[in-house]
C-alpha cells in the first residue's frame, strides 16, 4: 500500500532565491497535490500611492521587482502618459525598447542559470550568469545602475545612448550571440539535460488556455500571443513574430526562452538601426485625471497596470497584475502527479517571481 505524507517545501529552500511555501501531499514519491501559501514578500506597495506623488511613484514601481525593474517602471509611466495624453518622443520609445529587450535577455539568462542549478548542472549555471554580467555591464554604462535603473520618467527617459555606445553594445551582442549558440547546444542536446526536462510537467494547449497562463509558459504550449504585438514603445516599427512550441513540457519552455533571447538580440539590432534623433522626454504639465489599463510583455509574460487618477498629484489607485500570479494555477496543475525530485524544476519552469506576485 502506498503511504501518504505531507512534505513542506520552502519558504527557505536552496533552489528558491525567493520565499514561497508549498505543502506537497505525496503518495510515496508521487505528488498528489500542492497547496501554496504566500505572503512572505507582500509589502503593500500599491497603497504607497497615497504617500508618494505620481512622479515619485515611478521609483516605487521600479522596485516591484528587481529583475524586470525597467519594464515595471515603463509600464507604470506609459499608463500615466496615456491618461495625461503625453506623446513620448520617438527616440525615447526606441531607447525604452532597447532597454526592455536587454532586460529580457538578462532575465532569461538568469532563469537558464537557475534552471541548470535546479537540475544540478553547476557549470552551466555559472556560464549563464557569466554571460548575464555582460548585459549588466551595458546597463551600468547606459543607465548607471546594475539592476535598478531609475531611467524612466513620466514623459520619456532620463538618459541617452550615443552612437558610439550603441556600436559598442552591438559588438557585445555579437559576442553574446556566439557564446549563447555554444550554450544552446548543451541546453538542448545534452543527455543529462534532456533526461531531466523531456516530458516533465506537460501543460496542454487546452489547459494553458483554461488556466490563463501567460508569457513563455503559455507560448511553449502552443498559443502564439505576445503583448509586444499590441504596439507599445517602438515595437510597431519592428519586425518579429511570437515564438512558440507545441510540446508544452519543461524542455519546450527552455527552448522557447532560448529562442527568445536570440529574438531579443535581433530586435535590439533592428532598433539600433532605426533609432531616430531627437528629444528624450516630453514636458509634463498638470496632474493626471482619468484611468487607464496598460498591458506590457515582460520576460515572464503579460503584466497589467491599472492606474486611476483624480486630478491631484496623488493617484487614487494603482493595481498591478503580474505574470507569475497568472501562471501559478498552471504551475500547480503541472505539479499534480509529478515525482518529488522534479518539483524544483517544475516550479522554476514558470520562472516564478514572488516579489512581483505579492508586491
Amino acid at each position: 500500500m502506498s503511504v501518504r505524507s505531507v512534505v513542506p517545501f520552502g519558504p527557505q529552500h536552496p533552489v528558491l532565491p525567493e520565499p514561497i511555501h508549498l505543502d506537497l501531499v505525496l503518495e510515496d514519491e508521487k505528488v498528489i497535490e500542492a497547496i501554496p501559501s504566500i505572503g512572505f514578500v507582500h509589502r503593500g506597495l500599491e497603497k504607497l500611492v497615497e504617500k508618494k506623488d505620481f512622479q515619485e511613484y515611478v521609483y516605487v514601481a521600479e522596485r516591484i521587482c528587481g529583475i524586470c525593474s525597467f519594464m515595471h517602471g515603463m509600464g507604470y509611466c506609459s499608463a500615466v502618459e496615456n491618461i495625461m495624453d503625453v506623446v513620448v518622443p520617438p527616440r525615447a520609445n526606441y531607447l525604452r525598447t532597447i532597454w526592455c529587450e536587454m532586460s529580457r535577455i538578462h532575465s532569461h539568462l538568469l532563469w537558464l542559470g537557475l534552471l541548470a542549478d535546479a537540475f544540478g548542472f553547476e557549470s552551466l549555471f555559472m556560464q549563464s550568469w557569466r554571460m548575464r554580467e555582460k548585459i549588466l555591464d551595458m546597463f551600468e554604462m547606459s543607465t548607471g545602475g546594475r539592476v535598478i535603473f531609475s531611467v524612466n520618467k513620466v514623459g520619456g527617459v532620463r538618459k541617452d545612448m550615443d552612437k558610439e555606445m550603441l556600436r559598442e553594445f552591438l559588438k557585445v551582442f555579437d559576442d553574446i550571440e556566439q557564446e549563447l549558440k555554444v550554450l544552446t547546444k548543451t541546453f538542448l542536446e545534452d543527455y543529462a539535460v534532456n533526461s531531466r526536462l523531456r516530458d516533465v510537467g506537460v501543460l496542454t494547449k487546452q489547459q494553458a488556455h483554461e488556466l490563463g497562463a501567460v508569457g513563455p509558459f503559455m507560448r511553449s504550449s502552443g498559443i502564439a500571443l505576445d503583448n509586444r504585438k499590441l504596439g507599445y514603445a517602438a515595437y510597431p516599427e519592428l519586425d518579429f513574430e511570437p515564438i512558440t512550441s507545441d510540446v508544452g513540457d519543461c524542455y519546450a519552455r527552455c527552448d522557447v526562452r532560448i529562442r527568445e533571447i536570440f529574438q531579443s538580440i535581433d530586435l535590439i539590432r533592428q532598433a539600433a538601426a532605426k533609432i531616430p534623433e531627437g528629444e528624450l522626454a516630453a514636458a509634463v504639465k498638470g496632474f493626471p485625471q482619468g484611468e487607464h489599463f496598460m498591458r506590457v510583455e515582460q520576460p515572464r509574460g503579460e503584466a497589467i497596470y491599472y492606474v486611476k487618477a483624480n486630478g491631484t498629484k496623488f493617484l487614487d489607485r494603482v493595481r498591478v497584475r503580474t505574470p507569475t500570479f497568472a501562471n501559478l494555477p498552471g504551475m500547480l496543475e503541472t505539479l499534480k502527479g509529478c515525482q518529488l525530485a522534479d518539483v524544483p524544476i517544475l516550479i522554476l519552469t514558470i520562472d516564478p517571481c514572488i516579489s512581483c506576485t505579492e508586491r
Binding site: Q12, L45, R130, I148
Partner: protein
C-alpha cells in the same frame, strides 16, 4: 587580513524587491566570484556562519527569519544587505513592512545601497569574517572562564 576559516553564508529574502537578492547571487557567480576566497553559499542554516538578509521583513516573514537565525550555530554574524534591510528604505511607509532586519534580529553589519552593489556586499562579507573571528575568540574565552569557575 588573515582569514582563519572559510565562512559559509546563507541568504534569505526577507520581503525584498529581488534587486539585492540577485546581486547577492551575482557575488557568488563569475566576475565577482567570492568562492575563490572559500566563501560558499549554503541552503542549510546549520552549516552557515554568516546570514545575509535582504528586505525590510514583513509580518509573515518575521518568524521565519527568527527561526533560521536560531538554527544557526554560534558564533554567527548577521549582515543586512540593501537599504530595505537597513531601515526599510523605500518601503518604510508600507503598511506591511516592519522596517529593517534589526526590528527582529541583532544586526552586526549594514550594507547600504539600493540595490547594494556586489562590491559593497563583498566588503560586508569581509567585515563579517573579521567579526566572526572576534566572536569566536570571545566565545572560547567564555567557555574557559565558565569551566574555571
Amino acid at each position: 587580513m588573515k582569514v582563519s576559516k572559510s565562512p559559509w553564508l546563507m541568504h534569505y529574502d526577507g520581503s525584498s524587491c529581488n534587486g539585492c537578492d540577485i546581486e547577492v547571487l551575482a557575488c557568488l557567480t563569475p566576475v565577482y566570484d567570492v568562492e575563490r576566497f572559500g566563501v560558499m553559499n549554503t541552503g542549510n542554516p546549520k552549516h552557515a556562519d554568516i546570514f545575509l538578509i535582504t528586505g525590510g521583513i514583513n509580518a509573515q516573514n518575521a518568524p521565519v527569519v527568527k527561526q533560521l537565525y536560531s538554527q544557526m550555530p554560534n558564533p554567527k554574524v548577521v549582515v543586512a544587505v540593501g537599504v530595505c534591510a537597513c531601515n526599510g528604505g523605500i518601503f518604510k511607509e508600507c503598511y506591511n513592512i516592519l522596517g529593517g532586519v534589526d526590528t527582529v534580529l541583532p544586526v552586526d553589519i549594514y550594507v547600504p545601497g539600493c540595490a547594494a552593489r556586489p562590491e559593497a556586499i563583498i566588503d560586508g562579507v569581509v567585515r563579517a569574517v573579521a567579526l566572526l573571528d572576534e566572536k569566536k575568540k570571545a566565545l572560547s574565552q567564555e567557555q574557559v572562564s565558565s569551566k574555571e569557575a
